[in-house]
């Protein structure tokens, strides 16, 4: 069923790789500059629900991978499949040294908290994002804590284990 969409994507955009990963799932590997164009194209195609924005740290390849998962929100739009929803996964890789990417909040406004979270936990900054302020974390971290080179054990030893036990006077 994806064949038509697959061909359309491949003819519209250069340098992308479209793979049928599962029955109801299509994965698109794209260049970073194409992301907003592809997402806008898919939104016009009926994939109007951004389920998730996530990031993966490929430390050996020195890349961050951004993952956008799209689906159709309305059941009527899924008529071609009986019950299962179709998912479109758009992936792109950006360099680890200078992690910057264009925001997609203009296309999907609900990407805002996801991008804030990724900014906080991975240190990827999104150009044009309305507010990249802290979301969850209270403490300052030298390395953002979800990066693979963040040593949680060492951090715990340095921070929480150094806090002394309260010594109480004997009664």
């Amino acid at each position: 069923m994806h064949e038509s969409l697959k061909h359309e994507l491949e003819s519209m955009f250069k340098d992308i790789l479209v793979i049928d990963t599962e029955d109801n799932q299509l994965t698109v590997f794209a260049q970073r500059s194409q992301i907003s164009v592809i997402l806008q194209f898919l939104k016009d195609k009926g994939f109007d629900h951004l389920t998730l924005v996530s990031a993966v740290d490929w430390i050996e390849e020195k890349k961050f991978e951004l993952v956008y998962i799209l689906t159709r929100y309305l059941e009527e739009a899924n008529k071609d499949r009986d019950k299962e929803k179709t998912y479109l996964i758009v992936k792109t890789r950006i360099s680890r040294e200078k992690p910057q990417l264009e925001t997609i909040t203009g296309i999907f406004p609900n990407a805002e908290p996801y991008e804030r979270e990724i900014h906080e936990l991975f240190g990827i900054s999104f150009e044009g994002h309305p507010r990249l302020t802290p979301l969850f974390l209270e403490r300052e971290y030298k390395i953002p804590p979800f990066r693979k080179d963040f040593d949680t054990r060492k951090y715990v030893e340095d921070v929480f284990d150094t806090i002394p036990i309260v010594e109480e006077k004997d009664k």
């Binding site: 969850f136 974390l137 209270e138 403490r139 971290y141 804590p145 963040f150 949680t152 054990r153 951090y155 715990v156 929480f160 284990d161 150094t162 806090i163 002394p164 036990i165 309260v166 010594e167 109480e168 006077k169 009664k171």
Partner: protein
Amino acid sequence: MDRNQIMKWLKAPAKMSNKYSLHAIYFCTGCGIIEVPPVITARWDAERFGVIPVATPRQANLFLITGYVSVKTLRAIIRTYEQMYEPKYTVGFGSCPINGGMYWDSYNTIKHLDKYIPIDGWIAGCMPRPEAIFIAVVHLWTLIDKEKANGYIRYRENYKSYRRNQELALGKLEWPPLYPINSSS
């Protein structure tokens, strides 16, 4: 009323009343809160033990911390604890407040809760069964009888150390000290 205890009631009526009417405030930090609705409702019915949930910390004297404590929730826990009236008792529920539990190497959870506020008793387990809450309540009764559930007194006496630890974990606290911090203690 138990006739054996009539002397205790005559000696210290306020203490006995506190003991048998624990008004609990549950701090729903983590998965432990799953165990609390069956405990306070008909299935296990905590009111048999005089434990009843209340809405605000101002009305409570039992503080049950159910689940892991992240740095951000520690701030709320301290503020809740300081708002409760004395005598107040604190019970850590589950293994996470004891030593971090499965979050032992997490970047954002507090490992030992007793470094920041005084704890009167622990319920170990991941998760403890609802019955464990009642065992803890009965233990707390004996501790109150022996006047060993003295967390709030220890807090007052060692407030300087507790406040120092709280500031180490949270940075600058935006509320003033609960007790005066004099240099001698």
